[in-house]
C-alpha cells in the first residue's frame, strides 16, 4: 500500500516537473548566437551539406573522439567481464534451431543491411545520419547473423584489426589537421570540393567512415563476446 502510494507520488512529481517544462516552453523567434553561427558559416568553413555532421566531426571533433573512446572502453570491459565466463563452461549444448524463415531471411538481408550501413556513413556529410548510426546498423547485421545461427563465430582478429586501424587512422587524420590546416581534426587537409558531392567537405567523409567502421567493430565485438560466453 505504502509502496504503491510512493510510486504514485513519484509519478505525479515527475509529471509535474515535465508539465512545468512543457507549459513554460516558448519557441524562439530566431536562432541563438551559436546556432546562427553554425547555420551561417558551416558551408563556408567545412563544405558539408549536413550541418549536424559538420558539428560532430569538425567543430566538436574532439568530443566525438571522446565518445568513440568511451565506446571502446565499454566494449573492452564487456569483453573482459565475459572472458571469465567463456572459459568456465564445459561441453556446449545445441541451442534451439531458429527456423527456416530466419535462416533464409538473414541470408538475403545481411548484405542489404551492411550496404545500408556503409551508405549511411559514407554519405554522412550529405544526408542525415553518419558514423554512429551506420556503425549500429553494421552491428545489427552481425546480430542478425548470430540470431540465425547462435553457433556462428566471427574472427576476433579481423574485428580487432578493423577497430584499432580505424581508430589509429582517425587520430592520425586529426593530427594531420594540426600540421596542415587550422587545428586538431580540421577537415581542410583535403580540398573542400563542391557542395553536395560525395567527395566534398574535405576529410569529413573519410573521418566519418572510419568512425562508422570503428563503432560497427566495437558493437560487433561486444555481441560476439556475448554469444561466445558459456552459461556458468
Amino acid at each position: 500500500m505504502i509502496r504503491r502510494a510512493t510510486v504514485l507520488l513519484l509519478l505525479l512529481g515527475l509529471g509535474g516537473v515535465f508539465s512545468a517544462l512543457l507549459f513554460g516552453y516558448t519557441p524562439d523567434d530566431e536562432l541563438n548566437r551559436t546556432a546562427a553561427y553554425y547555420a551561417g558559416q558551416t558551408v563556408r568553413d567545412t563544405g558539408a551539406a549536413n550541418i549536424v555532421t559538420a558539428i560532430i566531426v569538425t567543430y566538436r571533433g574532439l568530443d566525438t573522439l571522446g565518445e568513440v573512446t568511451v565506446l571502446f572502453l565499454s566494449a573492452a570491459i564487456v569483453g573482459l567481464v565475459l572472458a571469465h565466463g567463456a572459459r568456465a563452461g564445459g561441453a556446449r549444448r545445441r541451442p534451439i534451431p531458429p527456423g527456416e524463415l530466419l535462416e533464409t531471411g538473414s541470408r538475403l538481408l545481411t548484405p542489404l543491411i551492411l550496404l545500408l550501413g556503409v551508405h549511411i556513413f559514407v554519405n554522412g556529410h550529405l544526408t542525415p545520419g553518419g558514423g554512429f548510426q551506420g556503425g549500429a546498423i553494421l552491428a545489427s547485421a552481425t546480430l542478425l547473423l548470430l540470431l540465425a545461427n547462435p553457433m556462428r563465430r566471427f574472427s576476433h582478429r579481423l574485428i580487432r584489426l578493423l577497430e584499432s586501424l580505424s581508430g589509429l587512422l582517425f587520430v592520425l587524420i586529426g593530427l594531420l589537421g594540426l600540421l596542415l590546416a587550422g587545428g586538431f581534426l580540421d577537415n581542410r587537409i583535403l580540398p573542400l570540393g563542391t557542395l553536395g558531392e560525395l567527395t566534398s567537405a574535405g576529410a569529413i567523409p573519410l573521418i566519418y567512415s572510419l568512425i562508422g567502421l570503428k563503432v560497427g567493430a566495437e558493437f560487433s565485438s561486444m555481441l560476439a563476446a556475448l554469444a561466445e560466453t558459456q552459461e556458468p
Binding site: N50, G129, G130, A136, L147, L223
Partner: protein, 82 residues
Amino acid sequence: MSALLPAMGLLLSAAMLVAALMAVRGRRSLPISILAAGLVSLLASVQFLLLAAPDVAMTEAAIGSGLTTFLFFFILARVRHD
C-alpha cells in the same frame, strides 16, 4: 499543415503510451513485450522526425528499435535454452 503536425504528435504520443503499457503489463508473452518496447522506440524516432531532427531519429531507429530489440530476442533465446 500547422494543425496537422501537433495532431500527429499527439496521436503518436498516445500510441507510444499504449505500446509502453503493453511492454510493461504484457505478462503473458515476453516476445510481445519486447516487440512493444521496440515499437515505443520506433514511434519515438517518428516523433524526432516530426520535430525536424532526422539525425536523432536515425540513431533512435538504429539503436533503440533495431539493435536493442534484436539483442533482447537473442538473449531471450539463450535464457529459454537453459
